[in-house]
Point group: C2
Chain length 335, copies 2
Amino acid sequence: MVTINDVANAAGVAPSTVSYVISGKRSISPKTRRLVEDSIRKLGYHPHAGARALASSKTNVLALVVPLRTDLNVAVVMEFVASAVTAARAHDHDLLLLTKDEGPAALQRVASSAIADALMVMDVETADPRVPMLLALDLPVVLIGVPDHPAGLSCVDLDFTAAGSACVAHLAELGHRSIALIGPSPAVYRRGTSYATRFLRGFDEATKARDVRAESRACAHSYEAVSACLDDLLAADPGLTALVVHNEAVLPGLLSDLRHRGLRVPEDISVIAVCPDSMAEQHAVALTNVAIPAEEVGTQAVEMTMRRLAGHTTPEVRLLGPRLTRRESTAAPHA
Amino acid sequence: MVTINDVANAAGVAPSTVSYVISGKRSISPKTRRLVEDSIRKLGYHPHAGARALASSKTNVLALVVPLRTDLNVAVVMEFVASAVTAARAHDHDLLLLTKDEGPAALQRVASSAIADALMVMDVETADPRVPMLLALDLPVVLIGVPDHPAGLSCVDLDFTAAGSACVAHLAELGHRSIALIGPSPAVYRRGTSYATRFLRGFDEATKARDVRAESRACAHSYEAVSACLDDLLAADPGLTALVVHNEAVLPGLLSDLRHRGLRVPEDISVIAVCPDSMAEQHAVALTNVAIPAEEVGTQAVEMTMRRLAGHTTPEVRLLGPRLTRRESTAAPHA
DNA sequence: TGCCATCGTCGATGCGCTTCGACACACCGA
DNA sequence: TCGGTGTGTCGAAGCGCATCGACGATGGCA
């Protein structure tokens, strides 16, 4: 193993000088700098992460807590993780993966073992039991999602309330007077998952404000559940002309089922989805959608974290405005 | 911060004794053990990861290199990551996420900074440029996928060659004499991605051995590409009665398109997919599939890694046998 | 009763790095 | 010419832990 001493010897300087060349915390003459940098390159020196962490109490590692239900949301979670790790590397940090399943204890462990410098937490619930513990942690924490009482924690997410309203607005402007929301599975609502309840709120407020007839249902993602959900909605409101789908997993089955029923999209029924753009474009009828900006959220989460690490102490709550893209699946209802 | 000294003082023993209680590397009297464990619990002591790494040259971290093309394979990658992190935690290790994009340099960095104890590498190519470097690394390395020359590296994966054969065998036994393979996008083949070429080989061998008429196409995952691909296949062989789909992303579009063409599944055309079970069950016509056992591969990869870390030095190559589940999408062809 | 082996505990050392205070030297103005 | 002010470099200390050799106590056996 190549150590800082080896580099120092090779360059004919003191180890501390090498350290200062690397960190830039003291001024170094151009001559010495060149000498040291050459030695570093020649020897292939990389500082020992553990030693560095021990001496400086900084690990250059960010911990990310992800939900590991592999049946749900995968595309979004994956995209988020991808952008987070990329953004973290851009700031010379690595990403450590934790699972929600391990619960609060894992957060304690990571914090008090000094494994990571900061925490990013996904899949936040409205009354998330982890929030109090996170507050006590005195590590920078950024939540992806917004709990009811973020207290002193930073948050970033799509503005799902606005997204819910935007869907309704789009449909209402096309002339729809009777629409339904197909939401995530009942379990998601039961857990009080932040984005689900916020979206529903936006949907409800907007339909009320515009005096649009509205129904909403939680929907599991099996084909049978989708089909039953549609039965139910059409029975409750035979005049239904539009669907808002806040449940990506359900889309293929839903579109199949609509066709089975002889309902054409968008001629007989309009469909607007909340999903990544790539998914919206993947279907035979390209879907009008509100994009889930997983990539931007991931990047923002990292940026906010880095800001906290740099000493920026006031927590921020950042809600990204929804972006609705009109494609082929929405149209004015037939008379 | 609570240190080992604090615990030692609280328990009235020497720091080294606390260390031995934790590691179990020397025998400790029951009385002392209880004393120490109580103090640990009372103080909420967690060893400092950096200090531990420095003193013992072990980090208890596994690095996982994932491909971050978020458009492809997401479900499989996600499931794999999920099981890997869970398995790693079961062995008291954490998981660090690296991206393939960073290339070989990232592997060097991680190895020589002693950030992780071992590497697991996904998305291996037949002639993967990372292999030589990984060999030189003197860290345990486990590949997910099998390159042409694994040399001294451990590998684990689904036996895609057998999977390709199994698909053909199933269809042939149903009586199909003319089948086509819809594979991953051209870019995947161009990169020489291990699983794509191995599956194709199994498909080719089996169709030849059984004297079945066969076509195969790479297929991008846009709806247009799928449609064009089907046009092409049906033109090349109007008597086509079955499709093998080794491209999960394409399934929703493909099934839509078949219906548009008036081709019923399985009455007019059989479809067998290589995809996770959850995805197979999600469609209106439940799909016969060969499962991608991402979860088992992830677990196995970790187990193999732990074995290497425990001193088990001979590299293993482990290919998991394919599991084909018959559902509704395959049937005997009509005369 | 005395000796030796065994078991359990302790103290010291060093892992590789950052950081702080000290210091040598050059340069400026008086 | 001399004191003063930076600038660039050095040496030492210490971060928290694992590990090794040493050592005291205990018990068995002769």
